[in-house]
């Protein structure tokens, strides 16, 4: 498929059309300046997936080289593919709304081009700040064979982990974001343009699996600007489709102001001496029902409320 700019180098050949796909699961990471997160992200993503495609969008902190270095150190360099996407991509919110879907500047085109780099039968959207617990790695590995007989959407609940220092972090047990991260790598599951961001198509015949709560975390550093991928805070503060961002904003404000107790469900985590708090959470956090029994119905569909958000329209992530 050709883009509006007529740039043939960034035309899209849907997965499978450019050649046969091999069985497996690829994590597709679209990143900008994630060097700080990668030392935590790459080990779990390389342990959980068969392949990783990392698409860099203008990093100036050495993100691509660091990814290669980490993969080599893990003896997994042959499972990492690094690509460069050199265009300025519209930020979530109004910029996305104004960007034509067939432009190389749209989130939609960026995502579809990125996923077209995968050569396996399943692909997973994976943000540059997403880490898996030890249990999460095992559960994701199980999918390697469990997905074989089906065409399924894989929904993964994620919980933000707000890192205050090397030894202290705040885990948001009080909310979870349930999103369809994984899907068969077929044109029927391509990304479509939505209002504020992109959304992955989900044919009615697709089956669906939801993974346990508590196994996947999103790193948020309290001393960083975690909202720069939005056009402006106004884009999400009054937006009914951006409840998740509103909670993140509220937590940032509360913790920075020294009032974390204002946020229900926010849990302080302190690592033992000599262990980084992120590693401590990776090693010790387990799927729990403390959130789930409160905010998740037994019909296996998320209960719509302010604390558990599912975004069938996808959600902004990836490039930060």
């Amino acid at each position: 498929m050709e883009n509006l700019e007529g740039n043939g180098e960034f035309a899209i050949a849907w997965p499978g059309e450019a050649g046969p796909l091999r069985w497996g699961r690829t994590a597709v990471m679209r990143v900008r300046n994630e060097a700080r997160c990668l030392p935590w992200v790459m080990p779990s993503v390389l342990a959980a997936y068969d392949a990783v495609v990392l698409v860099d969008n203008g990093s100036d902190d050495g993100t691509p080289d660091l990814a290669r270095k980490l993969a080599d150190e893990l003896d997994a360099g042959d499972r990492l593919t690094v690509r460069d996407y050199p265009f300025r991509v519209a930020r979530a919110g109004e910029e996305n709304l104004l960007a034509p879907a067939r432009s190389v500047h749209s989130l939609t085109w960026f995502y579809n081009w990125s996923f077209a780099q995968s050569r396996t039968s399943y692909s997973f959207k994976w943000d540059g700040d997403m880490i898996l617990t030890a249990e999460g790695v095992r559960v994701l590995r199980d999918l390697e064979w469990q997905l074989a007989p089906v065409h399924a959407i894989v929904a993964i609940p994620t919980h933000p982990l707000y890192v205050e220092s090397d030894s202290v972090a705040w885990l948001d047990d009080g909310s979870a974001h349930l999103e369809a991260y994984g899907a068969p790598n077929r044109p029927e599951f391509r990304f479509l343009k939505a209002f504020e961001w992109e959304t992955r198509d989900q044919p009615e015949w697709a089956e669906r699996i939801e993974l346990p709560y508590g196994i996947c975390l999103e790193l948020k550093f309290l001393d960083s600007d975690e909202f720069s991928h939005w056009t402006s805070p106004e884009s999400f503060l009054d937006n009914p489709r951006a409840v998740r961002k509103q909670r993140e904003w509220a937590i940032f404000e509360a913790v920075r102001a020294g009032r974390p107790g204002d946020i229900e469900g926010l849990r302080r985590v302190e690592a033992p001496a000599g262990t980084h708090v992120i590693q401590h959470v990776i090693d010790t956090n387990r799927s729990t029902a403390s959130l789930s029994t409160t905010h998740r119905s037994t019909t296996h569909r998320p209960t719509p409320n302010l604390s558990t958000t599912e975004t069938p329209d996808g959600a902004p992530g990836g490039v930060r």
């Binding site: 046969p20 069985w23 390697e144 064979w145 469990q146 074989a148 077929r186 939801e210 029994t293």
Partner: protein, 336 residues
């Protein structure tokens, strides 16, 4: 070794041995053996079967399910927080009483991944046991019987074996041949104890050993099939897959991490997936007829209950696209 976090010398090793299989598979022989070594079975004996029945019912799966996607359906159901919490709370209570525990229930074959996580979350180490008998012997005498009944029984056996083997890979596990147990149980059970790091076996005294000898000697051997697998009336493609699986499973009894055997089972799994798809396509009329009968049943029930004159129609199955026919190979690399 397990992933248990216990500190040696400070507390007894917490181990949970998981054993699937029905009596026809010979699982009872291992059950009777291990319980002689002070490995306890749960105090609430019925709880496990009742719990598994609930999980299977929610997933829409039956214990003899031959569908390759049965494991996927159960994995999805097994993510439900209430089920995980119920299992976790129950297991914690059991381990508080008995740190080396044996869970035996046929449906474990499809729930190994689920129990792995529950056991680890209870600070115990999981260990998986598989008892093997020739597929023809297991299909022999199974109900229902009749023309081509072997096909269904063999398909059920194959699906359960493939699922259990694949889901226990990279975990402490041990496969045993039922005939080997009857012949000389000491070798297989010692290998099991070593693979699962079971103090109750590794440190057992002569009394336990004598008890096992007597227990197994009192057991009547299971009947064997007078018809070898190769002469089964089941479709040739299915018989061939079962034969390949059986050969690989026997290899795993010597080395539970035999890479060649695991690769062979991956190929069998792929072959079975395609065979099942073809069988479903051929039997489409029967599937549609069953669906219509189900709708009619729902309508009649609704009418009997004095509900609306027309019951809601069962959801129409959407058309599923032809799956990709790319040859699949499992990733077979060592991971950290």
């Amino acid at each position: 070794m397990s992933e248990s976090s216990e500190e040696p010398g400070t507390s007894p090793a917490r181990r949970v041995v998981l054993l699937p299989g029905t009596r026809r598979t010979g699982a009872h022989a291992v059950l009777d053996t291990l319980t002689q070594f002070d490995i306890a079975t749960p105090q609430q004996a019925r709880w496990l079967a009742t719990f598994h029945a609930k999980v299977f019912e929610r997933a829409g799966v039956v214990p003899t399910d031959a569908r390759p996607q049965a494991a996927f359906l159960l994995a999805n159901t097994g993510s439900q927080p209430d089920l995980r919490e119920e299992a976790r709370a129950w297991l914690r209570r059991q381990l508080d009483v008995q740190p080396q525990l044996l869970l035996h229930e046929p449906r474990i074959a499809f729930l190994a991944s689920f129990w792995r996580e529950i056991v680890i979350s209870c600070d115990a180490g999981p260990g998986f046991v598989g008892v093997q008998r020739p597929p023809a012997d297991i299909a022999h005498g199974a109900q229902p019987s009749g023309p081509l009944s072997d096909a269904g029984h063999l398909a059920s056996w194959l699906n359960a074996q493939l699922t259990y083997e694949r889901s226990t890979r990279d975990q402490p596990r041990s496969f045993l041949l039922y005939d080997d147990l009857l012949d000389d149980w000491t070798g297989p059970i010692m290998r099991l104890g070593q693979a699962l790091d079971l103090p109750a076996v590794l440190e057992c005294g002569p009394q336990g050993i004598r008890r096992v000898h007597h227990t197994l000697a009192e057991q009547a051997p299971l009947p064997t099939s007078p018809v070898p697998l190769a002469e089964s009336e089941a479709p040739t493609a299915l018989v061939d897959l079962c034969a390949q699986a059986w050969a690989a499973l026997q290899a795993l009894t010597a080395d539970p991490a035999d890479a060649a055997a695991e690769a062979a089972l991956d190929d069998v799994a792929e072959g079975y997936r395609l065979l099942y798809l073809e069988a479903e396509a051929v039997a489409r009329s029967s599937i549609n007829a069953a669906r219509e009968a189900g709708k009619a049943f729902v309508r009649s029930q609704a009418a009997d209950a004095g509900a609306a004159a027309t019951a809601p129609a069962a959801p129409v199955q959407p058309a599923v696209p032809e799956p990709p026919r790319t040859t699949r190979r499992w990733a077979r690399r060592s991971r950290t």
